[in-house]
Assembly symmetry: C2
Homo-oligomer: 181 residues x 2
């Protein structure tokens, strides 16, 4: 099984580990993402992963933020604030639906906290500010929108058109309440 002896290198890198983790997740879901399965896919011993990742929890954190790189954020200056927020949340929703097994993890950890998550948060706050929702109220609205979007993605067990429409309807209700308040 193993073509190497102790001391020989496999040429693993941290990005390669994360890529393999994403691929495993896409194919086998969350239950399929085990350190041992990941090691096998990479052709290394299970514990070799610990040279590149602190532990499984840290690996998942990185994967979570990586996925958010796919979200299309509008230019916070160009778009109409309400339209921009709707587009941003809809894009987030779509990206999350492509990774349904990850969604409970986002909620459990209170969203992602990596660079991608931070960038999206700043765009949202900028859009809210342009709609005169600022300060503590802005942060409240930010959290409400994030919770709503992740929550709905988690709910969409198989993503149907009906649930997508449901998400849009609720998002409009929410935004109309936030911005008119």
């Amino acid at each position: 099984m193993s073509t190497r002896t102790p001391g020989q290198r496999a040429g693993l890198t941290r990005p390669a580990v994360l890529d393999a983790a994403r691929a495993l997740l896409a194919r086998d879901g969350l239950a399929g993402l085990t350190m041992r399965a990941l090691a096998e896919r990479l052709g290394v011993a299970p514990n070799a992963l610990y040279s590149h990742v602190e532990n499984k929890s840290g690996l998942v954190d990185d994967v979570l933020d990586d996925v958010l790189a796919e979200v299309e954020a509008p230019d916070p200056e160009a778009a109409d604030p309400a339209d921009g927020l709707h587009a941003l949340m809809a894009s987030t929703h779509a990206v999350l639906l492509a990774h349904p097994d990850l969604v409970p993890l986002y909620l459990h950890r209170g969203g992602a906290n990596g660079p991608n998550a931070q960038r999206l948060g700043e765009v949202m706050l900028a859009l809210l500010a342009r709609a005169d929702v600022t300060g503590p109220e802005g942060r409240e609205a930010l959290r409400v929108l994030i919770v709503y979007t992740i929550g709905f993605a988690a709910f969409a067990q198989p993503p149907t058109e009906e649930l997508k429409a449901n998400f849009d309807a609720g998002l409009r209700w929410l935004l109309s309440g936030i911005i008119r308040s």
Copy 2:
């Protein structure tokens, strides 16, 4: 360790198993709820549980619905629809906060589906109907409110007063959007 030989009964019942599971969950969280730990707490062999529960997934389903029995539902005829919905969702939110480890499971499974969940759903639909939100729109609003409430409970990592206020603010936004539409 084991005071019994094969063939002797331990006097297990299904409610006793569920009670122990809830207690284990309250004390050690989701990670602590294992079939083996549950068996040890009940003083039986791990596989003895399978005489009372189909598998771990079924056990969790039952626990999930049990928890919802604690939610205080208003009389759908007595309350003002908007106030009744707000009270019902707030009570659900509070109950979920008391069981934070369960919340990701509610989302992952699209909410509970047992008798308690069904009862609450019917009360919500009745209140929405009294606010003239009926048919497909009523079911949309139902899902939006459920997703929002569970999602926010999942987000409240340690439940702070700030997040509770945040939940209330968002809920008002949402209800004002739903009922005025």
